[in-house]
């Protein structure tokens, strides 16, 4: 697969992964550019990787961590998006606020893991590669985080009754 095709196919996915942690659009676009610049310079590896998705996200993750380390003051703790004010009028936005609140109760790594599994359909092995932590750790964290999310989901349903 040539570089343009990779960019076309995966830019949105990588951008969404970055934006999940970084709410500043311009910073996220900058990290996306750094990520694909690195991909461009290491194109030879494309044919050797087990999963392109996991490889791209691991580069994006490292770039994001580097950038956040350099600009520590800019790091944003997980908070509901800008949409919260308008949520009452829009069911989709209401859902976003609800899931933001649920995710806000998890630690950063667990949030990244559930995002990868639920949104991108990645495996624990992929997430271990992306985050640079052992697969066993990803499994246990995802197990705990998903149990918590289900519990909170049920609580919310019971409250609504």
């Amino acid at each position: 697969m040539d570089f343009d095709k990779v960019y076309d196919s995966y830019a949105d996915m990588v951008y969404s992964y970055i934006r999940f942690r970084i709410k500043d659009r311009f910073l996220a676009e900058d990290i996306l550019q750094d990520t694909f610049l690195s991909v461009y310079r290491n194109q030879a590896q494309l044919s050797k990787v087990r999963s392109i998705k996991a490889w791209l996200l691991s580069i994006a993750h490292n770039k994001m961590v580097d950038r956040l380390r350099k600009t520590r003051h800019e790091e944003l703790s997980y908070s509901p998006g800008d949409e919260s004010n308008a949520a009452a009028d829009h069911p989709q936005l209401e859902n976003n606020v609800f899931i933001d609140q649920l995710l806000g109760q998890l630690d950063e790594t667990s949030r990244q893991i559930v995002y990868g599994i639920y949104v991108e359909g990645l495996t624990c092995r992929d997430m271990a590669e992306i985050l640079g932590i052992p697969e066993g750790t990803v499994k246990s964290r995802s197990f705990y985080a998903r149990a918590k999310l289900r519990e909170w989901l049920e609580e919310d349903k019971n409250d609504a009754r």
């Binding site: 996306l32 550019q33 949104v119 197990f143």
Partner: protein, 109 residues
């Protein structure tokens, strides 16, 4: 029990991401029909996935094009302006100092 739950979650992930064979899918449907707990787990997992889709962020078309352009500009090999200038000056001095019939021989060296 957590072991079983962990395996069930893996099975649900495999099903949702279409990584099961036809036979495994049929087994999966049987399990959904016969095991209420499994059905409940599946519904919760499905709901969480649906909610999480709202976290997806889109990249604007203009940003997408701009970033691609920037990548190509940044990855162009850098031109060593100083080296180019030196070479131009040396050529110029040679042209002035050395008679033209000799110049091609010097350039060949």
């Amino acid at each position: 029990m957590p072991d079983r739950l962990e395996k069930d979650l893996e099975l649900i992930d495999e099903y949702i991401n279409n990584r099961l064979s036809t036979a495994q899918k049929l087994e999966f449907y049987d399990r959904l029909r016969s095991d209420n707990e499994f059905m409940k787990l599946f519904k919760q997992e499905w709901e969480l996935r649906r909610l999480m889709q709202g976290c997806k962020a889109g990249l604007a078309a203009d940003a997408r094009a701009r970033i691609l352009k920037n990548i190509y500009v940044q990855s162009r090999p850098e031109v060593d302006i100083l080296a180019e200038l030196k070479s131009w000056i040396v050529d110029w001095i040679l042209k002035i100092a050395v008679p033209s019939p000799v110049l091609p021989y010097i350039n060949k060296l």
